[in-house]
């Protein structure tokens, strides 16, 4: 019984982790290459979820909805980069924090204006609904399993993109030396727009995939954004590998902590006290993890600075 529960919770943690990775990958790329701290990344997640819900409502196709989410988030990312973000690369972090905080307000209110304050619902398509039986007769929702696999495939694709393709070489060169890559004749501002749009598309995809499990509403991106920041700080800002390790670590810690900490305290305290203490400690757990890691390694697990 507890073994099955453990496997199930580990899968839930993985699913949460790969979604966080989709968010964190864009954040860490944008920071690594452009040195920009982007609070509005959660808004792109929200844009993706809303676009998916709108497309699904009008066409009924989940795949079209995902495509719509990718396209809308990438387009929103490119527009924001061209209009606002590129003016911030040379600024200090304080200006970046404030300007992207302003973008959150604009995105949230704009979405509320377009779609209203009520949450939208995006359904899991029928061909992905229902449970599957895994080896060891473990029942697990097919959709969540697909998310885990899709997330891992995208992660692998992203690593291949960065290590094997021409644009990947440019991204890595941009991280190493901005002036030199421009001097070599690469259109640096176009490269930045592409990277930003790529990160936005990943965030939008995450929003759409999660939107089918939770409700699609204004402000849905903010809790995820904070977690994604925790992830990239743990992993080391700028490192894709760090983002992957960090997101799985955060996903598993959070999920397992919420299930098992109350039980652990139940061994020592009476049930109601154990639930409260366990639950409040569990929601603090990832922040404790982050603080602990930063105290040991002030620039994250895979940070270089």
């Amino acid at each position: 019984m507890t073994f099955l529960l453990l496997i199930e919770q580990i899968l839930n943690g993985l699913q949460f982790g790969v979604m966080l990775f989709l968010m964190a990958a864009g954040l860490t790329l944008v920071f690594g290459v452009m040195g920009l701290i982007n609070l509005a990344h959660g808004s792109l997640y929200m844009v993706g979820a809303f676009a998916a819900a709108a497309v699904a409502a009008s066409t009924g196709s989940f795949l079209l909805a995902l495509a719509g989410a990718l396209a809308a988030a990438a387009a929103a990312g490119a527009v924001v980069e061209i209009l606002v973000i590129r003016r911030l690369y040379a600024r200090d972090h304080l200006d970046q924090v404030l300007a992207t905080f302003a973008l959150i307000l604009i995105f949230s209110e704009g979405t509320r204006w377009l779609f209203g304050s009520f949450p939208l619902y995006l359904d899991v398509p029928s061909w992905l609904a229902g449970p599957v039986t895994l080896p060891g007769s473990i029942q697990y929702p097919l959709y969540r399993l697909v998310i885990i696999i899709a997330g891992l495939v995208i992660a692998a694709g992203l690593f291949a993109l960065i290590s094997r393709t021409r644009i990947g070489i440019q991204i890595r060169a941009g991280e190493a030396d901005r002036e030199m890559i421009a001097a070599l004749g690469i259109d640096i501002s176009r490269l930045y727009t592409v990277i930003f749009a790529l990160g936005a598309a990943l965030a939008g995809l995450a929003g759409a995939l999660v939107g089918a499990i939770q409700s699609v509403q204004v402000g849905m991106g903010e809790p995820v954004l904070i977690l994604a920041f925790v992830v990239i700080v743990i992993g080391g800002i700028g490192s894709i590998k760090g983002a992957l390790v960090g997101s799985l670590l955060v996903g598993l810690t959070d999920t397992l902590g919420k299930v098992f900490l109350p039980q652990l305290f139940g061994l020592m305290l009476d049930p109601s006290a154990a639930t409260t203490v366990g639950a409040s400690l569990a929601s603090m757990l990832i922040y404790i993890l982050m603080a602990g890691i930063l105290i040991m390694r002030p620039s994250g697990l895979f940070g270089s600075a």
Binding site: L94, V97, A102, L105, E109, W113, I226, M284, A291, P298
Partner: protein, 329 residues
Amino acid sequence: MAATRERLINAAILFALLAVPLWAWIADEPFVITLATRIAILALAGVGLNIALGLGGLVSFGHAAFFGIGGYAMGILASHAQDYTPLMEWPLAIEGTRSMPVIWLVAMAAAALAALVIGALSLRTSGVYFIMVTLAFAQMLYYFTIGWPAYGGEDGLSIYVRNVFPGMNTLDPVQFLAICYALLAVALFFTARLARSPFGLALAAARQNAERVETVGLRPFRLRLVAFVISGAITGLAGALYADLNRFVSPAMFNWHTSGEIMVFVILGGVARLFGPVAGAALFILLENYLGGLSDYWQAYLGFLLLGVVLFARGGLIGTLAGREVADG
């Protein structure tokens, strides 16, 4: 030249913050008085942050932690006083209290202690990491208060009657405003003296060039930690006042939006300007009120305005009005 102009602007702000509520008192407009009280309290929170952010160059995205601790210090002490239950019986008996000065001292001490711990850990990092670690600590407290049922948990805690200050009737909005205004003035005076003190000069030097400060035998870490503690204590005091204004505390005080807003006050007014937080908080609250009445989607307008300030009016409101030269270095 620019410095004199800034001094004139500062005097004008101080005057307006006093004159407008006085007019409102005579004209019997209690809403304006409450608005001015909100501005004074939030400006005080900003003044606190400005010591870390402006003087010390420490971009703390977690000052909601200290604001919330101040708020809960008031909430916990006052709720025990209102229920006639002791706060603690062992090892020593501590009763709740409704006395504002005691609450302020407790709030400042608790916030300072939290700032000492958070600062000592966070200051090991710098740059974006510092921003994010301070944010993480505030979020930690946010989730802790949500999950902690003793004082209301997620629902927060209501205090039915405003706390008392000897010799004054705090239920009268004007008298409560006077208290907040006086505390803001004291904090501003203190900040001005601090910036010119040997400590303030060393802190500013550590911001500009930490290596040089180290070569002359000062320790930047210690300077920054002290600045962070002072900064946290002042923001904690503002939190206690804010809780008294609303007679309500809730985990929302710890939310990262609160940190963002306090930071917005400072930047909107002008970083490292003595009166920056005051101008910023006043502008923010007035806009919130004015735009909020104009449109349901006022936050979008606020967003555009903030964006404009960051992109085009660097140095904030006071920087734009008084010129770019920063008087206090």
